[in-house]
Symmetry: C2
Subunit: 134 residues, 2 copies
């Protein structure tokens, strides 16, 4: 059994805390935990806007706190994000996520993130095999 | 892209809301969503105690709200559960979960739950193939 405390990770394990342009992700579970998915708490700054496209991953995102919106760039549909709303990128959907207030999101990735990815210019994470080649 | 609101599901989609002895699980994502995992919000009643063992699944559980404890029955170690604490049953660990206050947990299952499982007497969910045979 693995037991981890978000607050301990933030204080003591900087390798699991990744910050990029106006977002921070705390990786509670990564690929090497052997669960077959990774689990992250992600914080998006109030007023920020992000274009993401996980070409190599499925991702589900559950809003714990905050207020914002998501636009599906394939359909141009926009959905409100508020506590209790979840979106799942079952078609590797390219999307824009906006935080009106800081968003606190519980994110699941399949395949699991290894912890060494950063968002590339196209908004994706590399596949693990591409990273191994890099 | 799938977008679902917890509050809409609770009001309008009883097939996704499962209640058993002193716990309720709202299934935001199930196997047929094709994500490779399922994602549930689970509520455990204040004062309740549960023995679970997911012989056929890996499960991670992140505490959003509440207070309790978990005991790993293999080692007899007990860990405090509070907001920000996650446990992951990477060895299908048999465990006792206690809610001192109502616990609100974000749960991920791999393989994904199909939605037709109930906890069996041994605290497990059947594997999907066993359900198909049942």
């Amino acid at each position: 059994m693995i037991v981890r405390d978000f607050n301990d990770i933030v204080k003591n394990d900087p390798s699991r805390v990744v910050t990029d342009a106006k977002w921070t992700s705390v990786r509670m579970l990564l690929a090497n935990d052997g669960m077959g998915f990774s689990f992250h708490l992600t914080f998006l700054e109030a007023g920020s806007e992000h274009t993401f496209e996980y070409k190599n991953h499925f991702e589900s995102v559950y809003c714990i706190q905050g207020k914002g919106s998501i636009t599906d760039l394939a359909t141009n549909e926009t959905h409100e994000i508020k506590p209790g709303v979840m979106y799942a990128l079952n078609e590797h959907d390219r999307h824009v996520l906006r935080a009106e207030e800081e968003l606190v999101m519980a994110c699941v990735f399949n395949p699991p993130v290894t912890g060494t990815e950063v968002h590339r210019a196209d908004g994706s994470y590399a596949a693990a095999e591409d990273l191994a080649d890099a």
